[in-house]
């Protein structure tokens, strides 16, 4: 009896150690960043300073704020991310419902294409896609050189609307599973009461799909926020946080007299800028982590 208690205590300690260790590795870059972002440039060459800056300063954040044009870039990024997430949500709900409720000749093959669209890496079609949007002619309907859609948000909007944006296939899969798991009795009742198919979908099925809608929206928001690939491809040089971050080094003109500090100081600003970029997502996660963590159980991926 006593041996068992000691063993249990030991197991608990081992578990605690493992959890703290792994958690530290996960949080390490974030903590490092925070430490660097608050560090005064004088501390950079101080060998006794490793984690905790001797002089705390807001200066790095102020410089990063200005270089990024933070309020404006944040509004832009937030606007486009919410727009894309909302469009992606609407599109994948409709498509998922279509796959869940009605069969037509070839619908299984189309659904297999949904799965395939998750596996095809965007880099594979990057060059043709870029050229198609650069000389967009709607399959020959518009006059020859076509319109240049690069630099506008149309490529991203079109892809979100058609359920072919980054990881949209996964969302279609999730919404289809959800609607399949819903009983058909609600719809039947609606039909008997004289509602049409569209009215049934928008009036009855959608309000009942709130849990899965929340998951799709949140994941879509976060993944669109973190996306650098498509924004760099379709919106080069625009006033977005992602783009601003990658050009922060080029924009900075060094006011420092001390040449040694000058070249490396931008690293501290970089760290502050990165924190400003991830902050909104972290805040969102802090409030809504429950939805993220319980998401897989609700999506029907697991039995």
């Amino acid at each position: 009896m006593k041996v068992r208690k000691v063993l249990e205590k030991g197991a608990g300690l081992v578990r605690f150690g493992l959890l703290v260790g792994i958690g530290f590795i996960i949080l390490y870059p974030l903590l490092r960043q925070l430490s660097a972002a608050l560090m005064h440039p004088d501390d950079m060459y101080d060998l006794t300073v490793n984690w905790i800056p001797r002089t705390l300063t807001k200066m790095n954040f102020q410089v990063a704020w200005e270089l990024l044009d933070y309020p404006k870039a944040l509004t832009n990024t937030l606007g486009i991310t919410i727009l894309l997430a909302a469009l992606e949500l609407g599109a994948t709900m409709i498509i998922g419902y279509g796959f869940a409720r009605w069969k037509y000749p070839g619908s299984n093959i189309i659904f297999a294409l949904v799965i395939l669209s998750i596996v095809i890496p965007p880099q594979m079609v990057m060059v043709p896609l870029f050229l198609n949007f650069r000389y967009f002619d709607l399959f020959g309907l518009l006059p020859d050189p076509g319109i240049n859609l690069i630099g506008s948000f149309w490529p991203l909007v079109l892809m979100a609307l058609t359920g072919t944006a980054k990881r949209s296939g996964l969302f279609i899969f999730i919404t289809r599973n959800f609607f399949r798991g819903m009983s058909t009795s609600l719809e039947e009742a609606a039909y008997v009461d004289g509602a049409g198919h569209l009215k049934t979908f928008f009036g009855i099925m959608l309000p009942n799909a709130k849990p899965v809608a929340m998951i799709v929206f949140l994941f879509s928001f976060v993944w669109n926020w973190n996306d650098l690939f498509y924004t760099n491809l379709f919106l080069p040089g625009s006033k977005l946080l992602q783009i601003g971050l990658s050009t922060i080094n080029a924009q900075y003109n060094y006011p420092w007299a001390n040449k040694a500090v000058e070249g490396t100081y931008i690293q501290l600003v970089n760290n502050a800028g990165m924190l400003l970029y991830v902050l909104p997502v972290l805040v969102l996660y802090a409030f809504l982590q429950r939805y993220f963590i319980e998401s897989i159980e609700k999506t029907g991926l697991v039995g």
């Binding site: 578990r15 792994i22 619908s107 060059v127 690293q267 760290n271 991830v278």
Partner: protein
């Protein structure tokens, strides 16, 4: 006027087509067509002219260029594919282990889950950028770089007269740890949900029949989560295929915009895609037999 009436079946089929139409159009326009184009691009020389772009058919020249002329492609290709194949089992084992850890009852379980799931929220691109920024910062401040005083460990191992290959392996593994942990977020979540979906009564019955925890694990837990093992393998492959820290993808992207041109770049990505399909096929053949499906 008489209303045109479809049979119920045709009506349903029509609705199905209507609801899924956006995807069908989008797939055709933004995936299938570019995919098809990329085959042609990989066999052509592409040049930008004022009215768009022009293609000259060059046969397998781009593939030849990628494989025989490009100085870095072969090396990076082999390294990336081998590294990925080696990382998949490690990620699987780690995420299964972590899911078991998080499935136990203890205080602060919620906090642990929040932290373990953070890499999914932060996204691989962002984590990578952070690491790069951090690397620079460390180089500047001359601070101890690792989590452990690695130089001490290295000296210890050297003084034990262990073979150098073994020491190198250990250090390569240690360097991989953060990467493995940060790319296991979704996999942990999937395993965790699978573990929680196993009915407790199965374990109770096994216990009554005198099964040990070890036997219960291999006879109950393992078969019941094996379908998700496959899901996780596929997810891991796809995830690392498109990971932004993938050196090969960087090479392919650079080739497109600044290097050997669009044609060679698409040829490279086709070679890579073929390799990935090969890996996927092998995993399906190997794991397909092991997976237990409930009918």
């Amino acid at each position: 006027m008489r209303r045109f009436k479809l049979s119920l079946r045709a009506q349903k089929a029509l609705l199905g087509v209507l609801f899924t139409l956006p995807f069908i159009l989008g797939f055709a326009a933004f995936l299938a067509y570019p995919f098809f184009q990329s085959v042609i691009f990989s066999l052509s020389k592409l040049s930008i002219v004022s009215t768009g772009y022009e293609l000259d058919f060059v046969g397998l020249d781009n593939y030849r260029h990628a494989l025989l002329v490009d100085p870095r492609f072969r090396q990076v290709f082999v390294e990336t594919v081998v590294g990925m194949a080696a990382r998949i089992p490690v990620i699987l084992i780690f995420s299964f282990f972590a899911a078991n850890l998080l499935n136990q009852r203890f205080r602060g379980r919620m906090l642990a889950r929040v932290v373990f799931f953070l890499p999914v929220i932060m996204g691989a691109e962002i984590s990578l950028k952070m690491q790069q920024a951090d690397y620079m910062q460390q180089a500047v401040s001359f601070s101890e770089s690792g989590l452990l005083p690695l130089s001490v460990l290295q000296e210890l191992l050297l003084s034990l007269k262990l073979p150098l290959a073994f020491i190198n392996f250990i250090f390569a593994a240690i360097n991989e740890i953060p990467l493995i942990i940060r790319s296991s977020g979704i996999q942990i979540l999937i395993f965790l949900a699978a573990l929680q979906s196993i009915p407790k009564s199965l374990y109770e019955a096994a216990h009554m029949e005198g099964a040990t925890a070890w036997e219960a694990f291999w006879k109950i837990t393992f078969p019941l989560i094996s379908p998700l093992m496959l899901v996780n393998v596929v997810y891991t492959i796809v995830d690392s295929f498109t990971a932004p820290d993938n050196a090969l993808l960087e090479l392919i992207q650079n080739a497109a915009w600044t290097g050997a041109g669009f044609g060679v770049s698409t040829a490279m990505s086709w070679i890579y895609f073929a390799a990935i399909l090969g890996i996927l096929a092998v995993t399906f053949i190997l794991l397909g037999r092991e997976v237990h499906y409930e009918s």
